[in-house]
Assembly symmetry: C2
Homo-oligomer: 240 residues x 2
């Protein structure tokens, strides 16, 4: 787990971890031992051996120490989206941006699973999580709105795709957390995001066998559900 705290001795593995990490570790030890509601910021700073002001330098509130890496991850996501080239496939780009969140969770499975259980028990933390999810959603939608600017229904399309990407990501992430962090989280999220890309778009496939004129013919019954036809189409295009 990385830290934004510039504590001394970061390069020296024999030193104690930076203050920010020490606060997170102390907080979680107390949350698991006593419960979240029963733990005060005073308890946390006493265990970490620092003052209250140090706590609030890193975390605006007790809730923030439960989710210490979302601010960094949101900043990383925003930077990643801004660095995309103008001809990058927009849906692929937001899917790749969503993977950054998964990677943050997968960096430390034990911590992520503990936090998941804690969050399920504390309504205030679930509320906090909803706000964080909303911020990721808005970051993705903001990027897509800019990419779809001027297109008919561009804002609608952006909002719907952002929501679908967040839902697919969270579906896979929560399955992994419920299974105690067992299994391949990245593969699960990639599969879920592939589902969204198949519904909403995909980058132009490289013209392997033909050229730009390479043509696909789909024959479909008129009454077939659209998503089934799209599945056939994906298969024919070698995607999905």
């Amino acid at each position: 787990m990385s830290s934004t705290g510039a504590a001394p001795g970061r390069g020296d593995k024999a030193e104690k971890p930076p203050m920010r990490d020490a606060l997170v570790a102390a907080a979680f030890r107390l949350f698991l031992e006593r419960g979240y509601e029963q733990t005060t910021v005073d308890d946390i700073v006493a265990l970490a051996g620092v003052g209250r002001r140090s706590f609030f330098r890193y975390f605006p509130s007790k809730e923030d120490v439960v989710f210490p890496d979302h601010e960094r991850c949101l900043a990383d996501m925003t930077a990643f989206l801004a660095a995309g080239s103008a001809d990058a496939d927009p849906v692929r780009r937001v899917c790749d941006a969503a993977r950054l969140v998964l990677l943050m969770y997968a960096e430390n499975p034990t911590f992520s699973v503990q936090r998941y259980r804690l969050t399920k028990q504390v309504p205030g933390l679930r509320q906090y999580e909803l706000s964080v999810v909303r911020r990721y959603d808005r970051a993705l939608a903001g990027y897509l709105r800019a990419r779809y600017a001027g297109l008919r229904d561009g804002i609608l399309r952006a909002d719907v795709i952002a929501a679908a990407v967040v839902a697919a990501h969270n579906n896979a992430l929560r399955s992994w957390l419920r299974s105690d962090g067992k299994g391949d989280a990245e593969a699960a999220v990639d599969h879920a995001l592939g589902h969204v890309r198949a519904s909403f778009g995909a980058e132009p496939a490289p013209a392997v066998s033909g050229g730009p004129g390479d043509v696909v013919v789909i024959v479909s019954r008129r009454g077939a559900p659209l998503w089934r036809v799209v599945q056939e189409l994906e298969a024919a295009l070698g995607r999905g």
Copy 2:
């Protein structure tokens, strides 16, 4: 605006409105005059001419009086989904369920617009709204999960479609609220939901010109983005 309060004289239009409606009216008058944070439950009951216990009989907290109809709407939505036949198109059903929320807002545009402005100003109300949106999302996803039970990626599909429906609905609803409740909210929401149905599915179209064997042929360039091909497909199928 309907009421769950069983106040006397409901059938008599000359009577004062039921107590629940009187509390909502008093609360909003004070919220707009003094601000949300500056208004207490005591202020509200004093203006409405009732006791504190009456307030808490109808509303668990001050936040709940801002959104007096979501509980009814959630119950209506759950009942509507449960009443659907087993062969109803699932995506169409959740889109129709989402329309119930829009209808609640459109019942009283002035109140809805006032509340929208108030919610934008008060972080606690935005949090409350996120929780409510999450409950609608879960109601839709729960229905879809049951309908897709046993299908490969059924839960993933359910979660993604529910999120897309909620995002499309809220996109149209918020546009309408931002325009001060001018314009046709229902048409805007129907258009947005049509976008989701086009991406994820549609009920089998009635066989107007042909029969079950009526066939559509799509010719597409292999490198074309999938969503463009789907747009062509929709046009060919006479949907969208």
